[in-house]
């Protein structure tokens, strides 16, 4: 039996793995891969083991439905012909519409070196600046990290004595990153008085373990975290940065209670608990707009953690693995308005590398742009809706099959220098881009040590403006008949583009589901199993209903790992060029049983 150490590449925790393969195979390949196991000899970030999707790594690597050949207009081809056809089409479009009519979208499944190479390719070979990271879940957190350095906030007072531990979890970490449970729960049960505080509108997998569940309104997480910071600052006269102090002074408790839906007393009690703890850990997990104004929530949560006088750690959890690495490369390369052009349907050709565009966000403008685009080339693992709409599909090698660097967390790089070779037919984005550049008459240089922007600057700039926009969006939800929020299942990962193909996910969560609160079900006369027309400003689909006690009031939730559900969240871009996501008003109509 041969062993190879690797890291899971499905989410941002990058759990260490051992891949085991047959001894008789001359090369360690996917074909000879027998099993995958958590590498207990190395600490994963949360001391966890493998979750349901991590256990599917072996299945993913050897999946019979993985794309093994390049496809040109749906016909099986070879890599040389696919590259040649791509080069010809791109050259034609550049000649007819100009270089700025071509866009390059990058996704999580690229290494930092590949992201840098894609930027060089766009600039030097195509002659355009249209390169963007397409990760609506994670991008706002990265902007908040780079443009607001609130790690400078000082603790309010001396470290409390004792060993009381408080974990503040914003969102549903246990579903999105199940390994988190292994560090949170032993702390909760380990010492008397330790607490788990959860901020979420639903009784999620995480909230069920909360000692204090600050059950907010849909999208109210940011307001509750702002309230926690305000209460902590008021109680201790904490030395906040001046801009943040001024902003908090301007926040009215009645407004926080109205948007957040949690009383001042409950917020103040939770803040007091955090201030009295000898250790505070804050987790923030944001899947597809669960947390409205997530950049703002990130900054409030970081300041709140740093105000606490005990030992403290702020743990923002990205949904996808290498989005931070790619974001930092693109941030160093400069601003790009590629997403604005994509939304405005100004691009004639699209190169989508390392992502399943339709699974990440199949919003109406993107669907329209894809439909009307003259040429699309994409790298994919499985045949999916993106592949269906692309002119050329290149079989992609995953992060576990290529050498390079990924950044699963801020400031922590993971260099993969010993990997299994790509499965038969799969090519790395680096190889594809090099071949394409050569075909277009250029030579791409080495991508070793790419330039990245990781240093933080600024303090609380822009927070007041973001709060105003956030408060205004809250008013829209107040008047809605029902509000739709994303619901995540632990057996799926992120956009579901990979996990929907896994055996275990297909058994446990094969299709999208609409969950409604008992109050809402009674009001709309819905029962379990009814089929309901779900319509929002983003689109309309039919989903089966599950009535649940986990939701309250006018809240409905839909499993967010399916493109049809993601489409329900309409696409809006803010002044920063970011996609604005959050809970949306929804109309539910029961279908006739006939």
């Amino acid at each position: 039996m041969k062993e190879l150490k690797a890291n899971c590449s499905f989410c941002s925790l990058a759990c260490p793995l051992i891949l085991r393969g047959g001894e008789r195979q001359p090369i360690f390949t996917a074909e000879s891969l027998l099993s995958v196991e958590w590498d207990g000899s190395k600490d994963s970030k949360f001391g966890g083991s493998l979750c349901a999707r991590g256990n599917s790594v072996a299945e993913f690597l050897t999946h019979p439905r993985r794309v093994n050949y390049p496809f040109v207009l749906g016909e099986r081809s070879n890599i040389a012909a696919a590259v040649s056809e791509t080069a010809k089409s791109l050259a034609e479009i550049r000649k007819e519409f100009g270089a700025d009519s071509i866009g390059v979208l990058l996704g999580e499944n690229l290494t930092i070196e590949e992201a840098s190479l894609a930027t060089t390719f766009a600039r030097d070979v195509l002659g355009t600046n249209n390169v963007a990271l397409f990760a609506p879940d994670d991008a706002p957190l990265f902007r908040a990290y780079l443009s607001r350095d609130l790690s400078k906030v000082k603790p309010a007072g001396a470290r409390p004595t004792g060993d009381r531990v408080v974990s503040l979890i914003i969102g549903d970490s246990f579903s999105e990153h199940p390994c988190t449970a292994k560090s949170v729960l032993p702390a909760k049960y380990g010492t008397r008085g330790s607490e788990v505080i959860v901020v979420s509108p639903e009784v999620s997998h995480t909230a069920w373990f909360a000692n204090r569940h600050l059950r907010c309104k849909p999208g109210g997480e940011t307001a509750v975290v702002a309230g926690l910071l305000k209460a902590a600052a008021d109680k201790t006269n904490a030395p906040l940065v001046p801009e943040l102090k001024k902003m908090l002074a301007g926040l009215d408790w009645s407004e926080i209670e109205r948007i957040g839906g949690v009383s001042k007393d409950a917020i103040a009690a939770a803040a007091a608990s955090m201030l009295g703890a000898s250790k505070v850990t804050t987790y923030l997990s944001n899947i597809f707009g669960r947390i409205a104004a997530s950049a703002l929530a990130f900054s409030f949560a970081e300041a709140l953690t740093n105000v606490c006088p005990g030992d403290r750690e702020f743990v923002p959890q990205f949904v996808q693995q290498n989005t931070w690495g790619i974001y930092s490369v693109l941030a160093a390369a400069g601003e790009s308005d590629c997403l604005k052009k994509l939304a405005a349907n100004e691009l004639k050709a699209l190169i989508a590398l390392g992502l399943d565009l339709f699974s990440v966000y199949p919003a109406a403008p993107i669907e329209k742009a894809m439909r009307e685009k003259r040429f699309t080339v994409t790298t994919q693992y499985f045949w999916n809706q993106t592949a269906d709409r692309a002119n050329i599909v290149i079989p992609a090698a995953s992060l576990m099959e290529k050498k390079g660097t990924v950044s699963p967390a801020f400031g922590e790089d993971l260099v993969r220098d010993e990997v299994m070779p790509p499965i038969a037919g799969a090519v790395t984005a680096e190889k594809f881009l090099s071949m394409l550049a050569r075909e277009m008459g250029s030579e791409l240089g080495s991508a070793a040590k790419p330039a990245r922007r990781t240093e933080r600057s600024g303090e609380a700039g822009g927070m007041a403006g973001e709060w105003s926009a956030y408060a205004a969006s809250g008013k829209e939800l107040e008047s809605a008949e029902a509000v739709l929020i994303p619901w995540s299942e632990a057996v799926h990962v992120a956009d579901g583009s990979l996990s929907r193909n896994f055996y275990w996910s297909q058994i446990t969560c094969p299709d999208a589901l609409l969950m409604v609160s008992e109050e809402l079900a009674a009001k709309l006369k819905l029962k379990r199993g009814n089929r309901v027309d779900v319509s929002t400003a983003g689109g309309e689909i039919v989903l089966p209903v599950e009535v649940t006690k986990k939701l309250a009031g006018k809240v409905a939730a839909a499993t967010i790992h399916f493109p049809a559900v993601r489409k329900l969240f309409p696409m809006k871009l803010d002044a920063n060029g970011e996609i604005v996501l959050g809970p949306v008003p929804v109309r539910l109509n029961r279908q006739s049983e006939k």
């Binding site: 099993s35 083991s49 390994c179 729960l185 997998h205 995480t206 069920w208 055996y503 275990w504």
Partner: protein, 159 residues
């Protein structure tokens, strides 16, 4: 003393990693299912490896045997997939579906126990809820935690 898989209900997050690991480790045929208790909890249900197993008694092919450790194992080459054992199990922990022609039956990952490792479900548990211990150790631990007042049983409401 024989080791068995126990679950700490305080820690289980219903993430189903254990069942996924079981299925992946047994060529797609999982031996572990998640059940609901009194419509309140969703928890993994393991084979008890009973002292007097009914599944062993009813098997017409004598394909189910008790090994020297008390583990109830199903001999794959003898099983004809008649599902008598599934019907007879009083705890309902044998799965009513199978990928292969044989009945799914927990063997405590005999291949791993031979290497000194714990079963796959225990190794992969993301919250530390599953443990592989002797009964005496569990009883001791449980008594201590109850007296200490730190643990109490909570059920996660089912959908």
């Amino acid at each position: 003393m024989e080791k068995r898989v126990y679950i700490n209900m305080n820690l289980c997050t219903s993430c189903r990693s254990c069942a996924a690991a079981c299925a992946m480790g047994h060529q797609g045929q999982g031996h572990l299912k998640h059940g609901t208790i009194q419509d309140k909890a969703t928890v993994p249900l393991h084979c008890r490896h009973c002292a007097e197993p009914l599944c062993l008694n009813v098997c017409p092919q004598e394909a189910i045997k008790k090994d020297e450790n008390g583990t109830i194992i199903r001999m794959r080459n003898l099983c004809i997939g008649c599902k008598s054992c599934i019907q007879s199990c009083p705890f309902g922990v044998m799965l009513p579906y199978s990928t292969w022609h044989t009945s799914p039956k927990c063997d405590l990952c005999a291949d791993r126990l031979g290497e000194g490792k714990v079963p796959r479900c225990v190794a992969t548990c993301t919250s530390g809820a599953l443990v592989f211990e002797e009964l005496a150790t569990i009883e001791k631990k449980f008594r201590r935690t109850v007296e200490g007042g730190r643990y109490f049983v909570r059920f996660m409401p089912n959908r």
